[in-house]
Symmetry: C2
Subunit: 562 residues, 2 copies
């Protein structure tokens, strides 16, 4: 035997579903064993899901997770497994990797570097580890790490790997997605691999959890920093990679430290498997797949089957319904068009055309009479003077009430259709178009909404989203002849300003220096700042940028900084 | 001169309002100087407000806060001041106390213990300090600490105070309120004072910031653990305390460490001021004051003047409106009653009686016709079969739409009226009664709502909240003859179960062991767990219990743990 075979189980688990997650881990251990793997790894906290948030503060949750780990360990025969779970010692909880061999828990590694920035709150829950866990198999020396451990140049994990003469670093991760993140991840792992002279196996999580998307893309990187194998993205994958074993290594005695010596499991007769590389994805590919899987996981993991979406005939709802159909199937998506006196012939017929092309059920509920019944009752309290924003919001909230009524009657989840640009500047109605269970394109800037709509049509090789929808100037249709650009800068100006302000914390002067009019920048910043109260009550949606609204950006509502 | 005079400026600042906060600090320095104080302290992060959250990630915010500190220091003559601000060194930011003397920044202390639990995220923003800052004045040795530094037994701050022979520990705090917290705070400071043999001056913040209430109650505790002076709670206060100076101390040379020697400022002619003790508050006193100040600060700091509240004739809206009137004045509170066919004569007349007694404007907008216009348009999509929850929620959302329309037309902030019990179990309508800008009694259990309503009447020495409101069995009045207890356990059973589950993370078995039926406990836990999605879109409201919903309790929505 001159190979060792490592399987990385890139699985999709559900937070808190300890029994189902454990069952899945056991099934994938079995799959890896059937593939004659010597070692199989699982993602960070695979057993309890990531991030479990304040479930980790419940002592019984930690105990139950331990019970499932012990159950799982007993089932694990004929292979060595590395499984993410939450270890505890007294009151302390550790983000951990269990090393399991022949039905026995051999050792536990505690994550050393705890991220507490961006979407991460790990110092709220975990103590930092301080030791290493090393095992030797067929002369190869492995050490365990968890996610962030390989992200910090000069970290203890790096030092341990070097000092222990490690050949292979097994890293179990739950590294969340944003567009372009895979490149960042590769760069980071390359630095670690080169600094330590090790081969790094990074086993990432896949699947959606509330606002986070884990994109998979598990990988194997050699000591010179080349990716030699990679898993598919946005789907489960058992990535199998054979390692050449240096026959002389097993006799080396120059390596210090406490080491578990484990027997490889694979049969001698197995042949060398050529490593596989997943195809590259374009930026639009990966964003689209993130939206689809994020929607699918939120809907199904929360026990829903069908979704309902208000179709305005605009591009945001068109893209949302296209994503929903891809995620859930045509039979599980219901469109509702709710025309008013301000609805144009064009948008109304586009909503119908879209429903036709996507082959979904379409319900029509006009809002004119309801709108006027409100205005009748509000005549006295409103008093004299023309109607303004209150009449616009009233219509949006009538539509929300209709969608929620259908949701309550039939158990359909309402998907909202707001994009990041309008969420940022508050060009949306709280309890109106913001109302619903999941906000599919919440973190997608409007300019990207246009690109994705073209992409959807190209991908389908037909016009799923009508051309007239893509070409019509954006409008909320809540007042006569209304256009977004009456209230907002053009989106190709708004979006880069938003990116600079929201994602990069640049100042107004720095943004102006990029070539935008100072008064435009000021107005955009003012709109972003004063609409924090709306976003605080906003619907959760999928993070696809480096900084999404939500726990990624925690601004006070009461805030007079300017 | 045989005294040193210490002033603690318990001020109410606004997050981000650097200029106004600095102006206020300068004014209170002047007040303290006029009172012949030698030293004046301010709360933690007084200059930028607490907690500034992700404003701290903006480099310009840190620079601006530095600019204001330098401006402030120049104005500070004839007194020594300790001011909370955000210091920085390169990319690192510290939660800091500036020591200012004669127009000059003498030194900066960096908070050592960074809380990262409960509502706190300080490790997201701050580096931990590792040094001490000591100054000597008239032979007395002072050291600086910030909030959490005195909360951890055996901490570095404790060791520094002992090793440096400190006489007086100045602690600047932003310690948030919950009912009973003052007692906890006293116990904690007592441990520190006794362990270090020092007199501790704890200068707390006062005022509301989004969901947090800072209750003031600044104090001076002697080395034996007695409170010798205390500031009022829930209001600004300049607490002045004279210290006897040991004339021999100034000649002591046995104390190590780098020490700033500062001159006292007070005139020799000043007489000894008797220390003052603020009156004790009962549990209902402090909760009521927290609700009033929290409402006032949220409304006014966010630039609103008037609020609008839906009056159902029930106890929740009655208490909310009473609090709002106390916080904002009768002329700034508008009640809206929105009767339906399910509204009883009793509740309708009670809403009117309440508005009369509180002398507020009352608007009536019946919802029957609007409700039926919705049902007409939804007849086809709903199909056959009796109406259920969808019709109930529809009414609640019509009412929300009316309140929001008035808000949008007149610029009134909508106050919601939901209590903690119904928020916990989801007995409320998303985008319906949950819709609004601020949720006054969001963290108040229903049983406490009853107690507070009696308290309001006792305090007013008249029946502000009609007796019939207090005595009527709670009902949502969204269906014929509906009572809360048709859907929920009685509140005197529900509330202790919720407290055990939500605030104490107890398991179902532990809660049953307290004497509750297992099936009731199971049902309550199930309701709490499955309604996380509603709370995620809920309105911010004032924390008054040890664990409020919001950033105090971060549960995943997608969560299959049971």
């Amino acid at each position: 035997m001159d190979i060792l075979r490592i399987a990385q189980a890139q699985i999709n688990v559900t937070v808190g579903d300890l029994v189902a997650n454990t069952d899945k881990i056991i099934r994938w251990i079995e799959r890896a064993r059937e593939a004659s793997a010597d070692v199989v790894t699982f993602p960070e906290l695979a057993l309890c899901g990531y991030p479990p948030e304040d479930l980790l503060l419940k002592p019984k949750f930690i105990r139950d997770n331990w019970t499932m780990l012990e159950h799982l360990a007993k089932q694990c025969k004929g292979i060595t497994a590395v499984v993410g779970f939450a270890d505890s010692e007294g009151d302390k909880v550790y983000n951990s990797a269990a090393l399991i061999h022949e039905g026995r828990l051999v050792g536990v590694y505690h994550k050393i570097e705890l991220p507490n920035y961006g979407v991460f709150d790990e110092k709220r829950y975990f103590e930092a580890g301080s030791g290493c866990l090393v095992f030797e198999m067929h002369g190869m020396r492995f050490s365990l790490t968890v996610c962030e451990d390989v992200w910090i140049p000069g970290s203890m994990a790096e030092k341990f790997a070097v000092d222990n003469g490690t050949d292979v670093v097994l890293n179990i991760s739950a590294s969340p997605f944003h567009a372009g993140k895979l490149t960042v991840r590769h760069q980071v792992v390359k630095l670690f691999a080169r600094a330590t002279g090790t081969t790094v196996f990074l086993n990432n999580l896949v699947g959606g959890q509330d606002e986070l998307m884990f994109d998979g893309g598990s990988l194997v990187m050699n000591p010179t920093g080349e990716v030699i194998a990679s898993a598919k993205r946005f789907e489960e994958h058992l990535l199998i990679t054979d390692l050449d074993v240096d026959p002389s290594a097993s006799t080396r005695t120059d390596r210090p430290g406490r080491v578990f010596h484990l027997e490889p499991a694979g049969s001698e007769s197995r042949g060398w498997i050529q490593p596989t590389l997943a195809p590259d994805l374009s930026r639009l590919d990966e964003v689209y797949k993130a939206l689809v899987l994020g929607t699918q996981d939120y809907v199904l993991k929360n026990g829903f089957k069908k979704v309902v979406i208000g179709l305005s005939g605009g591009i945001d709802s068109s893209l949302t319904v296209a994503v929903a159909v891809e995620a859930l199937g045509t039979e599980n998506v219901i469109g509702v068009t709710m025309p008013s006196e301000y609805t144009s012939e064009g948008t109304l017929s586009d909503a119908g055309a879209l429903a036709d092309k996507l082959n979904i059920q379409l319900i029509t509920v006009p809002i004119g009479k309801i709108f006027h019944s409100f205005l009748d009752e509000l005549k006295d309290p409103f008093g004299d003077g023309p109607l303004g924003i209150e009449a616009e919001n009233l219509q949006a909230r009538i539509r929300a009430n209709i969608l929620m009524s259908l949701s309550n009657r039939f158990g359909w989840l309402v998907l909202t259709t707001g994009n990041k640009s309008e969420t940022a500047v508050g060009y949306c109605t709280l309890y109106g178009d913001m109302a619903g269970g999941f906000a599919v394109i919440k973190d997608v800037p409007k300019t990207t909404v246009f690109e994705l709509s073209e992409y959807v049509n190209q991908r389908a090789e037909k016009e799923l989203i009508p051309r007239s929808v893509i070409e019509r100037p954006p409008t909320a249709e809540l007042a006569p002849d209304q256009k977004d650009e009456d209230s907002l800068p053009p989106y190709d100006i708004l979006d880069p300003i938003l990116q600079a302000y929201v994602e990069q914390d640049r100042t107004r002067d720095e943004i102006s220096a990029l070539g935008f009019a100072a008064e435009t920048v000021d107005e955009v910043i003012r709109m972003v700042d004063r609409n924090e109260y709306k976003r605080r009550q906003g619907t959760p949606g999928i993070k696809i940028t480096p900084r999404a609204f939500g726990k990624d950006r925690r601004m006070p509502i009461t805030n007079l900084y300017s």
